[in-house]
């Protein structure tokens, strides 16, 4: 079992989800996030005080997958999230030892 984590541009969320569904993935956890990186932020002004905000809004996806799906889904996610512009984000994979479905207590593949 693996965990694919993706940090992408917010407005791409719907497309990534659509793409995943067409590959039979129906579960996904989403979190609001913000990122620092090459993509530059902006400056704001309030009564003579200028502030720079480097943080750029992103969304973070957590996706539990079976080992044999990792490569394909890694590909699906990064393709769907791609705009080709700086700030598209990252996708990474971490090992998972157990997964439990809270409702039933099922483990492993059955839990997804």
């Amino acid at each position: 079992m693996k965990l694919i984590t993706a940090v992408i541009k917010p407005y791409k969320l719907d497309e990534v989800k659509a793409a995943l569904q067409s590959f039979g993935v129906h579960g996904l956890t989403v979190t609001e996030a913000n990122g620092y990186g090459r993509q530059r932020g902006h400056t704001e002004v309030y009564r003579g005080a200028e502030y720079t905000i480097d943080l750029v809004p992103k969304v973070k996806l957590d996706l539990l997958v079976e080992d044999h799906d990792v490569e394909t889904l890694l590909d699906v996610v990064s393709k769907a999230a791609q705009t080709g512009k700086i700030g598209d984000g990252k996708v990474w994979v971490t090992p998972v030892e157990t997964v439990v479905r809270v409702r039933t207590g099922e483990r492993g593949a059955e839990a997804l």
Binding site: P10, Y11, K12, L13, D14, E15, K17, A18, A19, V30, E32, P57, V59, T83
Partner: protein
């Protein structure tokens, strides 16, 4: 023979607008106190009162409440149906204008002013049944409530020939009985019929937007000057002292509530300050034209302090009066109505022509206190009984309460198909439904995988 007084009319029209604003003010006062998942339903429960009560008022409400107001020997229990649809009221554009009593104010202006009272009274009830009410059931309840309860009671109390006013010589200048005790009784009945919220006492239910509570309190306060000082129906010395008393009592009630809170919890809270203000406004409503500014200090301080304790009743007795309509409006209304019996001052009482007397502390003896109690008791008894029957009837037929699942999910979503706030973080996750009116011309399936940067293209031929 009275002629049009433009000054008094200007004040009554301005006051009408002020009182109309109180209902949205109430909606925000209540709306800020509920959880984010039911704020819209709270706004809607108030907003719909404006809509339906206005229609009922024009069709028959005004006539039932004030249709015979200019007739000293008119029926003291109920007005008339003669002015249904306000069809025979002369504006004075041609011929002689119909004016209200000796005020020189057109009947239509008074009708506007009194309408706003009929709107906010049932709206007050909504606070008791927050988070769990079926919108349609509520709307029906409101229609029934004003017809069976508010319209007649308003006649009893506000019409010059109404029995509580003329016969029992009760002093209730702007509605301690007709508005607050009345609404408080209706709220108690509703809360009992509809039952407790899921998780009442167990789950935390903290206000989702305290600044909205404050905004609502501010709009209420602002509008209440129209409510009380406007009730003089003249721009006069009486209206002026009423204005001052309203301000004074509201302020001392804030102090009273904050003091009680400090004693109980060690803190001065914002919700407490806002609640104290409302408690004071409620209490001074009947008394504003009976006491002096010094008297007003006490008519505010006492209810402010007491109501802060009164809101604990629901925990002790276990009825879920969600936003404390009973603790603030019923208790505050009763206190304000009774304190008149103690603090009514001769100079102000002189403004009454119904035989009212000064209060106990001002040498008027016990009589007025008894009269006030009688008035309060009659309105509470009538209102609570009829409200209970009405609420029960609606609950058993159309239904007054949503399913438990809908309640846990949130009534904004389940009753109104809306979400109050969207800060944008995840709005990328919504998408247009197939049922969408736009679908015909723009299949989401296709578009939803288009990149914004190509949007214009995607829309070349919509």
């Amino acid at each position: 023979m009275p002629t049009l007084d433009t000054g008094n009319t200007a004040w009554v029209l301005a006051s009408s607008a002020l009182v109309l604003l109180m209902t949205p003010g109430l909606a925000f006062f209540y709306g800020g106190m509920v959880r984010a998942k039911s704020v819209l339903n709270m706004l809607m429960m108030n907003f719909i009162c404006i809509a339906v009560v206005t229609v009922a008022w024009v069709l028959y409400g005004w006539s039932v409440s004030f249709g015979n107001a200019n007739n000293a020997s008119g029926n003291s229990i109920w007005g008339t149906l003669a002015q249904w649809g306000m069809h025979d009221i002369n504006t004075g554009i041609t011929g002689k204008a119909d004016l209200y009593g000796s005020t020189g104010v057109p009947l239509f202006a008074v009708a506007c002013f009194q309408l706003m009272f009929a709107i906010i009274t049932p709206a007050l009830i909504s606070g008791a049944i927050a988070d769990r009410t079926k919108f349609v059931g509520w709307t029906v309840y409101v229609c029934g409530w004003v017809t069976l309860i508010y319209f007649p009671v308003a006649h009893w109390v506000f019409s010059p020939n109404g029995f509580i006013n003329a016969k029992l010589h009760v002093m209730d200048f702007a509605g301690g009985t007709a508005v607050h005790i009345n609404a408080g009784a209706g709220a108690l009945a509703c809360a009992l019929v509809i039952g407790r919220r899921v998780g009442f006492k167990r789950d935390p239910m903290r206000p989702h937007n305290v600044p909205f509570v404050m905004l609502g309190a501010a709009l209420l306060w602002f509008g209440w000057f129209g409510f009380n000082a406007g009730s003089a129906l003249t721009a006069s010395g009486q209206a002026s002292v009423v204005f001052m008393n309203t301000q004074v009592a509201t302020c001392t009630a804030v102090i009273g509530w904050l003091a009680a809170e400090k004693i109980q919890h060690g803190k001065f809270t914002t919700v407490g300050a806002a609640s104290g203000a409302v408690a004071g406004l409620v209490a001074i409503t009947p008394a504003c034209a009976s006491v002096s500014p010094i008297g007003a200090i006490f008519v505010g301080l006492i209810p402010g302090f007491v109501c802060c304790y009164a809101v604990n009743m629901k925990w002790r007795f276990g009825f879920d009066d969600s936003l404390d309509v009973v603790g603030v409006h019923l208790v505050g209304g009763i206190l304000g109505t009774l304190l008149i019996g103690l603090f009514a001052a001769p100079a102000e009482v002189a403004g009454y022509t119904n035989g009212a007397r000064a209060g106990l502390f001002y040498g008027g003896g016990i009589d007025q206190l008894l009269a006030q109690s009688e008035g309060a008791g009659i309105v509470f008894g009538y209102s609570f009984t009829v409200s209970l029957i009405l609420a029960f009837a609606v609950h058993k037929t159309i239904g007054l309460r949503v399913s438990e699942e809908d309640e846990v999910t949130g009534v904004d979503q389940t009753e109104h198909a809306e979400t109050a706030y969207d800060w944008g973080g995840l709005s990328g996750a919504l998408h247009r439904a197939a049922a969408n009116v736009a679908a015909a011309t723009a299949p989401p399936s296709v578009e939803s995988i288009t990149d914004p940067s190509t949007a214009e293209k995607a829309e070349v031929n919509p």
